[in-house]
Symmetry: C2
Subunit: 717 residues, 2 copies
């Protein structure tokens, strides 16, 4: 790729960014768009949908930038929870890493690379005609002494990254402990979920749980709630909700009152008032729901799983950490999620069922990975113009126009990849949800992992080895040659990844700010909805979408910083944009749906360690390729030390993210002993994990009373 | 190798076996040898050192065979503990597997192999001139339909082995639980070992432990004993013991009373009575010991580790399973071993120290593995006569003698290998001991694992790929070609491994019965020792020596059963010998030193699964090599299913071997509540984990009182 193609891509994307930022600065001030840009403030009552028109509303302003910039970490913690803090720390961590690597890369390595004359000499008069490869390590001569500068850079940056990783891990651990110590008593701290409950014939799951825990945890056991299979019920309630909304809409807007003929698909028969018609159907469904509810609670739709609550956090932790039964596949315990975080559908209970679904999901992930190579191959075809001309000879005339060819090689491949990639997080979330996780947070955490490795495999390795899954696998089936193959393939794709950072990174950030899709949805929906208050839903941040993207850029930065330092300024711009945009979105848009108290950090840590080791492997290959075998052997201790460092961190910090210590638990329990609000809390705890589908439903037909409980239900399901 | 060379080896080893069995049948009846052959019965008072001479003592008898055969599992459990039962079950498990595989191998596969004509046709007139390869799968023609018989055999045997594995795992799990439920209260059930104890300046480790557990486990905490650094003390006590024994010997045998000159290395000066001389030195040492003991207990030789005892098993388990401190590297808990099982030397306490020593041990193991390839290479040279003639041309004339060449190719290589292998278990035991394990049982378990993988790597793979460590590594660095390389190399070494079974297996078993080394030691020592009663030590069974050997034979049997079924009869003979010999030794020789309650079984399970998967890999390679690609693809699901089966077993049974469930612990605790002996037990528990070196020592100089406490001490150190 030529510098000019890169510049085209940068130009297009900078333009898009400026456009989005400008539009955002105006549109966010229009009260009609508040539900898109300020849903959180709206829900909290800090903003209103209507306001007086004035001219100022049409002039872009930068007040939001100042707000986002000045938000302190404590404020963020208070408003969006520890997960948002961890997310922002991922960005600041990346910023620190790439400022440091950037200074080394741009001021030390880039001049060294350019001074080489392995490829063409640099054409200073017409910079844009230079191949980007001139700026990479490929330009350095074989055996050149200046490669020792690259060698030192690899060491220095590794040490710096490890130091930062340690610091962050310890900082977030302490934050997590502080969060626990300052948190109010919460139901999930006192509760565990028990699955695979053995039931003797003639007794119910509930009896079985009760007798077991009364027998073995008589001092701490408080109560339990057995999980029921409520898929059918949930469907009925959903229908009832939709109908009641329709009735509400018809009533509130009598001008739109419609009539419906009573038979033959509404074509003939006598006219019926639609409201009455819906009302009748709603009554039927209501009746059904109530019958189903009583049926579910009495008859055998019990799942062999139950939420068991205890009188103290310590009691719950003991029951969780000790294997309960002699048969390890019975009475398996896990920590309960927050009540509103429970994922009620797909509630699989038996040990084998979950195990098999896990295997199925693994197979599905592998299939998805293989299938996804088709679009990647397509993209690779676009990046190689010559091949495209061979495939589609009729395009030849168009492709000769410089701008078109630059758009096609510089911008289009990344855009296509981006669009395909958009579909991955929802698919992975779905796969995680059928894997047997019981909470949205666990599902997202698992999806985060899946999306991350999918991205690394399908974008990084597939692009680099630009071949089928099998030829990629081939590389990994001959581990002896991995380093040399990486050393050849990785630098060759430098320009593609620089363009990828610009296209995928910059655009995704600015469209995140602009909220393209929600904006369009809102524009389309607006004329059809009545009072917009009743379906205002504050969105939750999708950690499994954004964390893998950031981590992938960290991987690109770490692996390319010494190969093609030119990538670093673009990454820095991306992280700066991200810093401002995500802070702004946390203030205005997203409300936390759950609180894992920082459990996403270990994923970040592991992925960074992987990036470092991958970078070392490439360095070994590169130095071998450049005939500097001493340097390549001297790099070998580096991955070993990095992995040892990782092992140490796993021992030192990871347990803190798995569970709290006896020390913490007992301290918190003792603090509560004197709290007068505890009896009330325990009363609520007993019913905290009631399936929302089994809650008594309000009389839907009496539409005045619908709105509040329904929205309540909505948030819980 | 020709059939005749194999027959030579079988002949030599059968001769040796018969000799050993015959000699044993006579020698065990000589009362003088009782301390070699019946030390256990001697210690239990069921046998005596002297008896009247009669002629019957010189005629070999088979009564011991009957005794060994008729021993029931319950008797074995009562006399030698669950570990011995598990060990015997390993042998019966292997017997079952190889009887089944043997029937298929000898009656189905062997005829099929012989009917092939890929190699020379079988020479029925002179069987001993046939190459052994005629009996292997190498003789089957490419693409032959009869290979489907081998294919079915692979499936059938895998299913049979997996079924047996499941059955045994579940049987031993239930035995383990039954053992726990029927066991008396034992100190280690109520105790945990805490390491990495943080100590604030100005307070002692003991204060720190006391305040921590009183704070966080006030209801269950009973007492604690801080570990001290007592290496110096232990050395002093050892010296004192040796001296006192010498005095005892001199006193009991006045005829040998010796004198010693007082200076210049005993050459000049005045004569001194040796007993008086020793007595004086002993008094000095005694004084030292007492000073050291009081010094150790008062001053700062405390190690930051302590045995903490609880009032219930459940209390100890809770403290063990829950992380105690916010810093996961502090207050790390592990289950305490039995008091007499504690390994007091090398008591490392800090988290980092143990971690680093673990790394050092890993490096040492790798080095040992590489160094060990030298004797293996030597052995391989011997097996290839031609190469030997090239290296040592002057041997040519001797090597042409048939018998010599047969001995050299058939017997010598295995003997050399065997001698080198003898040194591995003690080395591995030493390495495990510096790895930070705190009990003899843990050390042996870890050594067992090390010896097993060392044997598999250095005997199996080194022999097969008969090259340097690097060329072996090469094979594993190209996983794509592993199966095809295995398929070529494994059948080629069939004859070597058949000879190995005969030499190493048969001889080791019969020499185990004959106890060659202890017998010689006893013969040499006999004239010099006085009353043999005072240093009678009942030996303990070395699980880490014999389990890996048996598992290696299982690996050989499973991998070779369809390649060279001829190996199976020899293996069956080995396991039959082992069955009788080890039962006999458990009755007469070995006393249990510790009780892990079956914790060796998971090692056996994992190793068998590895053997199966290795066999599948070879099968894939063989069928590809034989141009039966459909069969080779149909084998592929087999290792996947086997690994899934293993995963299921890990989930279903392994937790039972890691710790007991809340259910079991609470049941046992409740049983004890009504036991009137418990107060007395708790009183003893408080001092159960006292370092024996810190126990008050008896007055050595008063030799009459020495024997009993010393032997006591001896067993405990």
């Amino acid at each position: 790729m030529l510098v000019s193609a890169l510049l085209t891509s940068v130009g297009i994307n900078s333009g898009l960014c400026i456009l989005f930022f400008g539009l955002y600065s105006i549109l966010r001030k229009q009260p009609l768009n508040n539900e898109v840009y300020l849903p959180r403030l709206l829900a909290e009552g800090k903003s209103q949908r209507t306001s007086r028109f004035n001219l100022e509303r049409l002039i872009p302003s930068t007040g939001w930038l100042k707000n986002a910039w000045s938000l302190s970490e404590d404020d963020l913690l208070a408003s969006s929870g520890l997960d948002a803090v961890v997310f922002m720390r991922v960005i600041t961590f990346s910023l620190k890493v790439f400022v440091f690597a950037g200074i080394i890369g741009i001021f030390v390595l880039l001049p060294v690379n350019c001074s080489g004359d392995k490829l063409d000499n640099i054409d200073l008069d017409n910079l844009s005609n230079n191949s980007l490869d001139v700026f990479t390590i490929s330009n350095v001569n074989k055996g050149s002494k200046s490669l020792w500068i690259h060698f030192s850079a690899v060491y220095v940056v590794t040490i710096f990254v490890c130091y930062l990783l340690y610091y962050e891990y310890s900082y977030i651990s302490s934050k997590r402990l502080a969060y626990f110590h300052s948190s109010k008593p919460q139901p999930h701290q006192f509760t565990i979920l028990v699955r695979s409950i053995p039931v003797s014939s003639g007794s119910s799951v509930s009896d079985s749980v009760d007798s077991f825990f009364k027998e073995y945890h008589p001092l701490t056991y408080l109560s339990h709630i057995v999980v029921h299979r409520t898929n059918k019920l949930r469907l009925l309630i959903k229908n009832a909700k939709r109908l009641s909304k329709r009735i509400l809409h018809s009533r509130s807007d009598p001008s739109h009152r419609k009539y419906h003929r009573s038979c033959c698909f509404g074509l003939c028969g006598r006219k019926v008032d639609l409201v009455d018609h819906y009302g009748k159907r709603l009554e039927d469904i209501e009746e059904n729901v109530r019958m189903e509810q009583s049926g579910v609670s009495f008859t055998g739709q019990e799942v062999r799983a139950a939420f068991v609550s205890f009188k103290s956090r310590y009691g719950a932790a003991v029951a969780f950490h000790l294997r309960q039964s002699n048969n390890p596949t019975h009475w398996t315990a896990e920590e309960a999620p927050e009540p509103h975080d429970v994922y009620w559908p797909f509630f699989s209970s038996s040990f084998m069922q979950r195990w098999i679904s896990k295997l199925v999901v693994i197979v599905a992930c592998i299939l998805l990975t293989i299938l996804f190579l088709i679009p990647v191959l397509l993209v690779q075809g676009l990046a190689n113009l010559n091949q495209l001309e061979i495939w589609f000879p009729f395009l030849k005339s168009i492709l000769t126009i410089t701008f078109v060819s630059q758009v096609i090689t510089g911008y289009l491949p990344n855009l296509i990849l981006l669009l395909f990639l958009k579909s991955v997080p929802p698919i992975m979330e779905f796969l995680s949800s059928i894997q047997g996780y019981i909470s949205h947070s666990d599902i997202e955490k698992s999806a985060c992992d899946k999306v991350l490795w999918f991205t690394i495999w399908n974008i990084f390795f597939a692009t680099i080895f630009s071949g089928s899954a099998l030829s990629q696998l081939d590389v990994f089936l001959e581990p002896k040659n991995i380093t040399s193959k990486l050393a050849v393939a990785v630098p060759a794709q430098a320009s593609f990844f620089i363009a990828y950072v610009v296209t995928s990174g910059w655009t995704s950030t600015s469209s995140e700010l602009f909220r393209v899709i929600p904006l369009f949805c809102s524009l389309i929906k607006r004329p059809f909805t009545g009072d917009p208050d009743d379906d205002l839903e504050v969105p939750a941040f999708d950690y499994h979408k954004d964390i893998p993207r950031i981590l992938f850029f960290v991987l690109l930065g770490i692996t390319y910083f010494f190969l093609a330092p030119l990538i670093l300024p673009f990454l820095l711009v991306y992280f700066c944009l991200g810093y401002i945009v995500f802070r702004n979105q946390f203030i205005n848009v997203y409300a936390p749906r759950y609180e894992t108290a920082g459990k996403f950090w270990p994923i970040v840590h592991n992925s960074t360690i992987f990036s470092l080791v991958l970078m070392h492997a490439i360095a070994v290959g590169i130095f071998t390729l450049k005939k500097l075998s001493l340097a390549s052997s001297l790099v070998i201790p580096l991955p070993i030390l990095t992995l040892l460092f990782n092992e140490y961190c796993r021992k030192r910090f990871l347990p803190i993210f798995v569970g709290y210590s006896a020390e913490s638990l007992i301290k918190r329990d003792r603090q509560d002993e004197s709290d007068p609000a505890m009896p009330e809390f325990f009363e609520k705890l007993v019913t905290a994990y009631q399936d929302p589908a089994l809650m008594p439903i309000p009389y839907f037909s009496d539409t005045n009373s619908i709105t509040t409980p329904l929205i309540n239900n909505n948030n819980r399901v």
